[in-house]
Each structure stands twice: as C-alpha cells, then as structure tokens.
C-alpha cells in the first residue's frame, strides 16, 4: 500500500508539473495520431453525437462509450478491475460512491486544469483525484394538479411528509436497489442525524411507500405528469419538471404540472477520472478536459438532465424556469457515506420495511 501511495503521489506531482508547464494549452494538441479511448460510464450517459464527432475530428481521439449498468455497478466493476481497467476514462462516479473508488485505487489522480472554471462550491470536491463534471439534485417531486384540485397545500419540508394530511401520498425507492432512493435516504440522514430512523418510522406510520426502482415509482405510483398512479409525491430529480416539458407530446403547448420541494434535496456530484493502468492516459486526460469544455457543459442539461459544473454556462429556459436549485441541499462527505452506507441500509430496512 505504501508503495502504491508513493506512486500515486508521484503521479500527482508529475501531473501537476505537466499542467504547470502548459496551463491551458489543451493536452489534445499533443495527441495527434488516431487513438480510441474507452469511456466507461453508466446507462444514463447521453451526449449530442455531433460533439463526439467534432472532438474526434479535432484531436484524432475516438471515444468509445462503454456503459455498464447504473452508477453503483459502474463503480463496483471499476473497483474489481482496479489496475487492469476496462477502459481509460471513467465518467459517472458520484459523491456517494467516490470514497469506495478512491480507496480501491481505481483512479490515477488527474484534475483537469479547466477546473478553475468550475463553480466554487463543487470545484475541489474531487479531492485532487477526479474532476467534477456536473451535479444534480434528488428532490421530492409534487403533482401540482392533484393538490390544486383538492385545495390542499403541498408539503414544503421533509417534516411535512409525516403530517397526517399527507398520509398515503408519498412514494420513494428502495435505497438498496435504486440510486435516487439511496440519495433520498442520505438526505434524511444529513438532515436529521441520529434521528433519521425515527423520521422513517414516522414516514412508515404515515403510509409512505417504497418500491424497488425509479421507473416503478415514477411511472406506476406517481399521479403526476400524466401517469396513472395514485400518489402525488415521489422521489425523483429536480430536473424532472423541465424534462416533462421538453419531452411532452407537444413541448410548445405543454404546461408544467409538477414541481419540486426545496427542502430535503440531496446533491449528487458526478466526476470523471483517469483509470489507473489506462492504455491511453494522455488521451484520457484530453477527454476529461473536453468534458469540462463550454461545448460539452452547455449540452449536459438537455442530454443528461444534469447541471453543468462549469460556472457561467447558460441553462436552457425550461431549466431556469422549472428547475430551481435548492438553496441548501443536503450533503454528506464521501468518506462518511463510504464508511456507513451498508450499516445505514440495514437500519433502513429494519426501520421501514421489516
């Protein structure tokens, strides 16, 4: 381990030295002969195709996207393959999974020099090992139509969800099998500390429901957004209301019918890193720089429904209007999540379902 640590340290300093030598001159200029970089990512990875072809035309680097399940599966596969990776770059490790990846030495530390343009609140969260690319919020989504029809005020805080008048209205996901479900559980832990289990007992007493996946919760149980379910409160993303407009049958005429609850949102930051043992580390760095470039950053909202990490990138109007960023999102440190996740999951199961 000590030898590995030393090697990592060396890589960092060498990396920094290299960056120091050519501050913003993209490494892409140094990679000329055609190479294919394998980008390991999760199933939700989407980008405009034109960006990829343009990148190849400019740099000679072809990006082969390899998607391996959800973010959890992605990181686990990388952990198992640590040192003999399936690709060169990994995109999609988030702040709850980062410590697992880092402690397994999945990454060769590299932070893009472009990080100087990243919003300050998340710029250094990659701990000098990975580069933040985007973030998003897991929030309770509200079916406004349901509440308007009945003249009931929608809940405003996590506490409200335990009130009798919202009994039987809330659906979330099993944190053991669903990424938003896990994020929501972490939000309650961040907010209530040791009292989080009591909170879940109250949710349970208030007839809250947990199903296994986001799709079942949102398309089957949620009443909003044209779905047939019966529960007007669901755990989803803060970008779901604009997605409902953008993916409406007729976006021009669509009106927004869902909104998010500002309290109890969990911030998910997604990172990209160079995999230790990558065959093309230089090209991999160029890909990470490119992921933070203004072109890719301004594509993220409409392709992956996340928020660009880069400061000053204009958001599509639907986002600006219908996806307010929570003022005080809940967060836990990667180390804390890494150390306690399994224990918390067991406690959640004991408290909420068994």
């Amino acid at each position: 381990m000590r030898v590995l640590g030393l090697a990592a340290l060396l890589t960092v300093s060498l990396g920094l030295a290299a960056c120091g030598g050519s501050p913003t001159a993209a490494p892409s200029t140094s990679v000329r002969e055609p190479v294919t970089v394998r980008l390991l990512t999760h199933d939700s990875f989407v980008l405009s195709t034109a960006l990829l072809t343009d990148f190849t035309a400019r740099t000679g680097i072809t990006i082969e996207v390899v998607a391996v399940g959800d973010a959890g599966e992605l990181v686990n596969r990388a952990v198992l393959s640590a040192g003999k990776p399936e690709g060169d770059v990994l995109f999609g490790v988030d702040n709850s999974l980062l410590s697992r990846a880092v402690s397994a030495s999945v990454f060769a530390p590299y932070v893009s020099p472009e990080v100087s343009n990243v919003r300050p609140e998340i710029a250094t969260s990659g701990n000098g090992i990975v580069t933040p690319i985007d973030d998003g919020d897991v929030c309770v989504n509200i079916d406004n139509v349901w509440f308007d029809k009945r003249g009931v005020t929608p809940p405003k805080t996590l506490d409200d969800l335990t009130m009798p008048k919202y009994a039987g209205l809330f659906v979330t996901q099993n944190p053991a099998t669903s990424s938003p479900g896990l994020a929501f559980m972490l939000a309650t832990i961040a907010k209530y500390g040791d009292g989080w289990r009591d909170y879940w007992s109250q949710l349970r007493a208030n007839d809250a429901l947990a199903v296994n996946g986001w799709t079942e919760a949102y398309t089957s149980e949620f009443s909003g957004a044209g779905n047939s379910g019966s529960r007007p409160l669901v755990v989803s993303y803060s970008s779901s209301p604009p997605a409902e407009i953008i993916y409406a049958a007729d976006p021009a005429k669509a009106t927004v019918t869902t909104s998010t609850m500002a309290d109890g949102c969990y911030r998910q930051i997604e990172y990209a890193g160079v995999l230790a043992g990558a065959s093309h580390p230089d090209a991999a760095k160029a890909v990470i720089d490119w992921l933070l470039s203004p072109e890719v950053q301004s594509d993220l909202a409409l392709s992956m429904f996340v928020f660009p990490a880069r400061a000053g990138v204009a958001l599509p109007q639907e986002f600006a209007q219908y996806a307010p960023r929570p003022a005080r999102p809940e967060e836990l440190s990667a180390e804390e999540v890494g150390a306690n996740q399994q224990q918390w999951l067991n406690e959640w199961t004991e408290t909420f379902i068994s």
């Binding site: 394998r38 199933d43 939700s44 990875f45 989407v46 980008l47 405009s48 195709t49 034109a50 990829l52 996207v65 390899v66 998607a67 399940g69 959800d70 959890g72 599966e73 686990n76 596969r77 952990v79 198992l80 393959s81 003999k84 399936e86 697992r100 099993n174 053991a176 099998t177 947990a210 199903v211 296994n212 996946g213 986001w214 799709t215 079942e216 949102y218 398309t219 089957s220 957004a225 044209g226 047939s228 019966s230 989803s236 993303y237 997605a243 409902e244 953008i246 993916y247 409406a248 049958a249 007729d250 005429k253 392709s303 429904f305 996740q341 399994q342 999951l345 199961t349 379902i353 068994s354």
Partner: protein, 518 residues
C-alpha cells in the same frame, strides 16, 4: 451408432466455458469464512424460504392454468388457433420489465407488492411455456388409446388420469422444471412487482454484487442458489426418466369440441388468452396516445428520432441489430439444444447429470454469470470484455435449454423398437436416425427455433450486460427510455415495445405454421 458422448461435447463445452468457469471464478473470489456466516443469518433463510415458496406456488399455478388450454390447443379444433397460441406465448418472450409495468398498471392497487401479485405475474409469463412443452407431446398422442379406454367404460376423468396423463407426465415434469427454474431465479418480476421487504435470492445477489460490493456474501448466496438448483434439477431429471412411457406416434386430427369438458377447455383457452392479452393490449393502446389524443407521433419519433444525441438511434437500426443477434442466437440455440436433447436421450448412465448440467443456465443467477465473466476477464488468460459475439452467445445460453426441453419429451416418447427396426433393415446409422428421430423432431425443432428466436429477441439480462451502447437491442432501448421522465420517453418506449411485439408474433405464428405443415 450415434453416441451420446460425441453429441454432448459441444453443449457441455459451452455450458462449462461460459457458465461453470465464471461461477467457479465467483466462488473462488468470494467464498470466505464470512460467506458461510451469511448462510447462518435468519434473514438469509427468510429470503430462501420466500424465494422457494413463491417459486413453488408460481409453478403449480402456471401448470394448472396451462393444462386445459394445452389440451384444447393441441387436441381440439379451435378457431384462430395459431393466433391464440402466439398470444399465450408472447408474455413469456417479451422483456419482463416492459410487460411487468403494463401488468402492474392493471393490477388492483391492493395487490401491489404482494405474493399474489408475484404468483399471478409469474403465471402470466410462464403459461405459454408450459403449453408449448406439454403440447409438443400431447399433439402426437395416439387418440385411439383413449377411444379404446372409453369404449371399455372408463369415465372421461379416468381416461385422462389413467391413459393420457402417464404419457404426458415427462413433458409436464419438464415444463415444471423449467418454470421452477425461471421463477426461482426471477429478477424482473420481483423488482417491478415485488415489495422491497421481500427480496428473492437473485435480488439479494444482485444487490450485494452490484450495489454494496459485498462479494463474499454474494458468493455465499450464489453457492446456496446453485446447490438448490442442482438438487432440484437432478431430482426432476431422474423423475422424468423414471416416468418415460414409449408411445405410438400418430397425427390424430384435431377433434371438434363436443363434450361439456371439451367446450369448457375451449372457453378456458380463449379466456386465458384474453387475460394474457390485456396488459399487452393496454400497452399497444397507450402507444397510440400522445397528449391525450390518438396519434402516431411516437412511431414517427422512434423511426426518426430528432434529438441528435447518442441515445437517438433510429428504430430501423435497432431492429436490425436485434434481428442480427437473434438469428445468430437461434442457430446456436437450436444446434446446442438438438445436440443436448439427443445426447441426454441416448445417454445410458449419465443422462440425469447431463440433463441437469445442460439446464443449469436457466437456474444460475445471471448476475453471478456476468460477474464471473468479468472476473475471468480480469484475472484469466482471455479478456472477453467488449467481445460482441458474447451477446448472441448469452442469449443462446438462455434459449438452448428451452429447445432441449421442447425436444426431449418427444424424443423420449419414441418407441426404441422403431430404431432397432430401421437398423435391422440395413439403414446406415444416420439414415436410420433421420427416418425415426429426425423426422419427428424436425417438426418440433421448427417450433423450438421460433421460441428460441423470440426469447433471444426479448432477452434483457445477458444482453444488457454485454451489448454495446451505440448498438442497443429493442429491449435495451425500451428500458433506457423508461428510465427517464417525460411522455415522449414513455411513449417511444411503448411504441418500441409494440414493434417488438409485432416481430415476435410474426416469428411465432410463422414457425407454428411451419411446424404444423411440416
């Protein structure tokens, strides 16, 4: 003489390479003293108990619902027979996530997450399989025996119990074994319809492998699952062997339904087909609704997606990819399945072990296999990652045991004296084989190939693990679309599901026509 050992090489080799080695790799990597601890936890045994209970109940219900319909579809004259059979088979071959959501939408809310919902869904998915496996034998049962028994004064019930049933028993056992494997390792149905409070062994393996990376516990559970499955398979194979009855082959024409029981069976068949069609119909109707109006919008959208992102892949190219994989998988599955069935039938001493081995792909956790392939690639001599041939191979691993189980009961029912006669009359071995076995299983192979092709088209688990992002199959693209909010995503997913449904129905109906007109 054609020897069992020679025939078994290919199918056993494939199972060994792509199933046993990965599973052993997982066990080597994961089994620690702690793995045995998980086997002592009471929670684990609750999971095992629930998994077994739901599998047993689901299997019994599936077989019981299917038998009257099998009779009507294969012995009686039935209007729209091929269509009805296709309708009854479609749920089995469509991806569970897709039909599971449609099923969930129709289920009364009080049933969501209950054992009843799981059993109903499993029956819904597996009835068609039972009908196919048992029907293959039932359709060729010589009707004159029943006539004779009836003339001798046996009641209809006793004719069935004492004359018909003994001949059907191996086929019923074969279908029972298949359904039990599918439901014991069920994943999609449990995820979509089950409650987080009651996971199955497969869900626990998935959770521990892919979410919390507790490899030693996952390996312990995988071992447990393997042991249960192997014991069950060996027991079922031995039982099938013991109950084999040679029968006179005939093509008794379908009879009109005259008796009350016959008519009841016919009504039952239509009713069952209707019940199975409902979720699929609801899905189809939904695909023509956009913004509360009737519309072809989602079909236009999947044909030429306009977003310009890596996910906007035209339906034509997705269908082409799916068909390319499915054709390869079907060829592989038929070759392996036919060889396997012949080898098991010819084997004298090791038949039971051989049959159980070849059925293992249905009973071993897909998560474990995928994870094992990954371990083999990382630590072994051959790196299989990114090898696209794995996609049809993975699909064939699932489809080949089905082909085998469709053919095996038929091969077993052939009177061995026919083979001796052919050999005595001086036919060279291959020709003798063709004259007796080949011709008879030829028909069934066409049907089996249809089912294999449909299964490959709808396969999700192995495909999702192995396919390339820019070349998704139809089920993969559907599940990706379902993972996002917005009506356009949901609508496009339903439209693609209907495309898959149409292709599957065409495959099933044409192969059934080929089978009956052979």
């Amino acid at each position: 003489m054609i020897r069992s050992r020679g025939l078994a090489i290919a199918p056993v080799g494939v199972v060994a390479l792509f199933l046993l080695i990965p599973v052993v790799a997982v066990l080597i990597a994961g089994i620690r003293p702690e793995s045995l601890e998980i086997l002592l936890e009471s929670r684990t045994w609750r999971v095992v108990g629930f998994t077994t209970l739901q599998a047993l109940l689901s299997t019994v219900v599936s077989v019981a619902l299917a038998l009257p319909a099998t009779y009507a579809l294969h012995r009686l004259r039935l209007r729209m027979r091929r269509l009805t059979l296709a309708v009854l088979t479609v749920p089995f071959v469509l991806p569970t996530v897709v039909v599971g959501l449609a099923f969930r939408a129709l289920l009364p809310e009080s049933l969501n997450g209950t054992l009843t919902a799981i059993i109903l869904a499993h029956a819904f998915f597996n009835v068609g399989l039972v009908i196919r496996v048992v029907g293959g034998v039932w359709s060729r049962l010589d009707g004159r025996m029943q006539d004779a028994a009836r003339t001798l004064g046996l009641s209809s019930f006793n004719v069935f119990r004492r004359v018909t049933l003994p001949y059907l028993r191996p086929a019923i056992l074969a279908s029972t074994a298949l359904v039990a494997m599918f439901t014991f390792t069920s994943f999609g149905v449990i995820m979509v319809l089950g409650s987080p409070a009651q996971p199955t062994i497969e869900v626990e393996i998935y959770r521990r492998t892919t979410q919390i990376l507790d490899i030693s516990a996952a390996a312990g559970l995988a071992l447990l699952q393997l042991v249960v499955v192997v014991v069950a398979l060996i027991w079922s194979a031995a039982l099938q062997r013991r109950t084999v009855m040679r029968m006179r082959q005939s093509s008794t024409p379908a009879l009109p339904a005259i008796s009350a029981v016959d008519r009841l069976c016919v009504y039952w068949t239509y009713l069952l087909a209707l019940a199975l069609a409902l979720p699929v119909l609801a899905l189809t109707l939904r695909s023509f609704r956009a913004g509360n109006q009737w519309s072809l919008q989602w079909y236009q959208q999947i044909a030429a997606p306009s977003g310009g992102t890596t996910r906007d892949i035209g339906a034509f190219s997705i269908v082409t990819t799916s068909l390319r994989y499915a054709v390869l998988a079907t060829i592989l599955a038929v070759v392996l399945g036919v060889l396997g069935a012949m080898a098991v039938q010819l084997a004298t001493r090791r038949g039971v072990t051989l049959e159980a081995t070849l059925l293992l792909p249905l009973g071993v956790s897909a998560v474990t296999i995928g994870f094992g392939l990954l371990l083999v690639s990382i630590r072994g001599p051959v790196d299989l990652r990114g090898w696209t041939f794995l996609v049809p191979l993975g699909q064939a691993l699932v489809a080949a045991p089905l082909v085998m189980m469709l053919l095996l009961p038929i091969l077993r029912s052939i009177d061995p004296r026919l083979r001796y006669v052919a050999a005595t009359l001086g036919s060279p071995p291959l020709k003798a084989w063709w004259a007796v076995d080949g011709r008879l299983i030829g028909r069934a192979t066409v049907g089996a190939a249809g089912l294999a092709c449909a299964v490959s088209l709808g396969e999700f688990g192995a495909t999702a693990f192995l396919a390339r992002v820019d070349e998704p199959t139809i089920p993969l693209q559907i599940v990706r679309l379902l993972g996002r909010p917005g009506e356009a995503n949901f609508g496009s997913a339903t439209a693609l599901a209907v495309v898959l449904l149409a292709i599957t129905a065409v495959v099933l109906i044409t192969t059934e026509r080929g089978r009956t007109q052979w």
